[in-house]
């Protein structure tokens, strides 16, 4: 482990160079890049600083947030009992209190507990509107950047964070300037079965690029195949989270001060409309004010627009950086078709990483299908003993008694999932707004999510569900089933709410993530997405963060970030 450098303690009244809000996939990268470039950085993270040695194999402590949405307090993710959400399908419905957004809330954010699927976007992801034309009822648009603009930063992310994979293994992969730094993690039985099924169907399965080290790298351990991966933190430091990779590098510069338990409630601006500081609650709920020359907002696709809306003022009556009215709009979330199958022999898929093989043959949309949509497919086992017994048995299985007992005995080792991650179209009315009534434990307005998927999203999900069932069949499943497809009411990948664009009237940030309206405010996280990709966004979020940080550092050195005076 890196020996902690002398950690700075910055004066709140003297402006630091940057305040970074949020220490997740994006914030960790930005904090590291800016501090390494010589700037003073204060990172405000609302969650705790949990150290790797505190991660233990205890499902009851680190519960599977997927199966516990009515959650009280979570360890690694947001706590809906303190920070409630409300949900409605459309603007005519009354929003009801329920868990609607789930995100990582600790140092490292969602990268601490994520699966680690680390898919680059393909070239098509940036230009789909040009390729397919407009889609009714959507804000379908091209990105203002291309794959080529981002490629060097994908490479940088893979090499600095430590990504395992096999370059050239997929015929669908976009061009890359460098191979992966470490080889793929060893295949599991679910990967073998997906591969067999896919080959039988004439498809091209390949080793999953994964944010988990297959070999020691940069002084970090290789994966020990313990199995407590998704929804858990890695006590070995083998998962390439921000916590295990860039945050220690940021601290090692001696110029980055991390303040956990710091919950930002307002970005403050001066009378010329420039950011001059950040108001936040500390761990004792005392209000603090940190002066700064600039802010990089990396709070995720739900909290970022919420904070901007909460930062309204006379100069910014509709929320900070929201002259376009687009802040919070075009929310996209993780759409997934989930299928499961059982096999004759034990897979023991609870061991090791989540995913070892994927299929990208259906990544691109195809007009022959009659709708817009694409996706990627992986094989995995999302369960731990308790969540398996409560939620993963085949439909029709008794939920108690001797047949239930036989079913958990028989199936736990013999079950796998084929999961399809699909496109979600950007729709203006799908949004994050401030709930007019419900408040959080600090008295601040709750997140209100309005969401209904597009008819093409539904058709696409159903189409993928059928492909996944075919794959299970071809792999030799003894039993297979799909979970019903419906418009989701809870999301874990939070995208699109401060979309990037060249036109200040229709977008929130420019192509370098600077807010169109505020020259010393940058916004870098899932909110920047213009389209959803194939809903495995972390790789692209972090590549964008490297690119943004590079630009921000250059602009600051060139004196091109005007600040409050």
């Amino acid at each position: 482990m890196t020996e902690p450098a002398k950690l700075p303690k910055f004066d709140q009244k003297a402006p630091v160079d940057f305040v970074v809000i949020g220490a997740g996939g994006a914030g960790g990268v930005v904090a590291k890049e800016l501090s390494a470039a010589g700037f003073q950085v204060v990172v405000l993270e609302q969650g705790p600083y949990i150290r790797p040695e505190e991660f233990v194999h205890d499902e009851l402590r680190f519960r599977n947030a997927y199966i516990s949405p009515q959650i009280g307090r979570e360890v690694l993710t947001n706590d809906h009992s303190l920070q409630p959400n409300t949900f409605r399908h459309n603007e005519n419905e009354k929003a009801v209190p329920q868990a609607a957004v789930v995100y990582g809330k600790c140092m490292g954010g969602g990268t601490v507990h994520f699966t680690g699927n680390y898919w680059r976007f393909h070239e098509i992801d940036f230009i789909e509107r040009s390729r397919w034309g407009p889609i009714s009822g959507t804000g379908f648009a091209d990105w203002p950047i291309t794959y080529a603009d981002l490629e060097p930063y994908y490479t940088k992310a893979e090499w600095e964070l430590g990504i395992s994979g096999l370059a050239g293994a997929s015929p669908f992969d976009p061009p890359r300037s460098k191979p992966y730094p470490v080889p793929p993690v060893r295949v599991k039985s679910s990967g073998v079965l997906l591969e067999r099924g896919a080959r039988k169907l004439g498809l091209h399965p390949f080793p999953a690029p994964l944010a988990v080290l297959s070999k020691p790298y940069n002084g970090r351990n290789a994966c020990q195949h313990c199995g407590f991966c998704e929804w858990f933190g890695c006590e070995w430091g083998a998962k390439s989270s921000s916590l295990a990779s860039v945050i220690p590098m940021a601290e090692a510069t001696g110029r980055c001060e991390i303040r956990p338990h710091s919950y930002v409630r307002r970005i403050s601006t001066d009378k010329r409309g420039r950011v001059d500081g950040v108001i936040y609650f500390d761990s004792l709920r005392r209000e603090q004010f940190q002066k700064t020359k600039a802010v990089v907002l990396c709070a995720n696709g739900a909290e970022t627009p919420r904070l901007l809306l909460m930062s309204e003022s006379n100069l910014f009556p509709h929320g900070l950086a929201n002259s376009s009215g687009v802040v919070g709009k075009y929310f996209m979330m993780d759409l997934a078709a989930v299928t499961q199958g059982t096999f004759e022999h034990p897979l023991n898929d609870y061991k090791s990483v989540e995913v070892t093989r994927i299929v990208h043959d259906f990544y691109d949309s195809d007009p022959k299908r009659g709708f817009f949509g694409g996706g990627g497919i992986d094989a995995r086992f999302d369960y731990y003993p308790i969540s398996f017994a409560l939620a993963a048995l085949p439909p029709g299985t008794p939920t108690w008694g001797k047949d239930f007992k036989r079913a958990i005995e028989r199936n736990f080792n013999r079950t796998m999932m084929v999961l399809c991650h699909t496109t979600a179209l950007p729709i203006e009315t799908n949004s994050i707004t401030l709930d007019p009534k419900v408040k959080d434990a600090w008295g601040e307005p709750a997140i209100r999510l309005t969401y209904q998927y597009h008819p093409d999203d539904a058709k696409n999900l159903n189409w993928f569900k059928d492909r996944a069932l075919e794959l299970l069949d071809a792999a030799g499943a003894t039993q297979k089933w799909a979970l019903p497809i419906d418009s989701p009411t809870i999301g874990v990948h939070l995208l699109g709410t401060c979309r990037m664009g060249n036109d200040p009237k229709t977008s929130v940030v420019d192509k370098f993530h600077r807010a169109h309206d505020v020259p010393n405010l940058f916004i870098v996280d899932g909110s920047s997405f213009v389209t959803s990709g194939r809903n495995q966004p972390t790789c692209t979020i972090q590549a964008l963060a490297y690119r943004a940080a590079d630009h921000i550092a250059r602009a600051a050195k060139a004196g091109e970030i005007p600040n409050a005076t």
Partner: protein, 192 residues
Amino acid sequence: MTTSPGSRRQFLKGTTSGLTTAWFALHWPAVLEAHEHARVAAADSQGNFEFFSSAQAGEIEAMAAQIIPTDNSPGAHEAGVIYFIDRALMTFDRDRQPVYRDGFALLKSHATEMFPGSTAFSQLNADQQTQLLTAIERTEFFETVRVHTIIGFLANPVHGGNRNEIGWKLIGFESRPSFKPPFGYYDAEEQS
């Protein structure tokens, strides 16, 4: 009999039987506290309950033994699920105490009604117990006991249940800090 929802999203909404599995409304400090509590109580884990009276514990234990029965392999009884539930109700799941308090009355009234002359659920024979539980399986009480039983059977033993890893052994789950490949039958096949 209630069957599996077959839907992760349905489960997300807590609709296994139309009821919220509000067991999940626990929290971190409370679980830590429960953990500590379990450790302290470990030395004194035979027959001393904090929430239940011994008669109440007998009733819940009889229910748990129907939910995960003992047959050719150990079940909820051998796994000490009742101790897990007792501790849960005194620590991170205090909010569920009323469900149990009301539940004892429900159990009694159903027993009296369905099997006149009976004195307690635990005194019924196995068939009668199954009949009664089937009659109440859509109640919040049954659902709570069911979820608690499953958790107590499969949670890390530090929480007081899953004694000797009985639950884990049944399903074939090994708890280890690391594994070496091959992991399963099919990747072993590939390797050979």
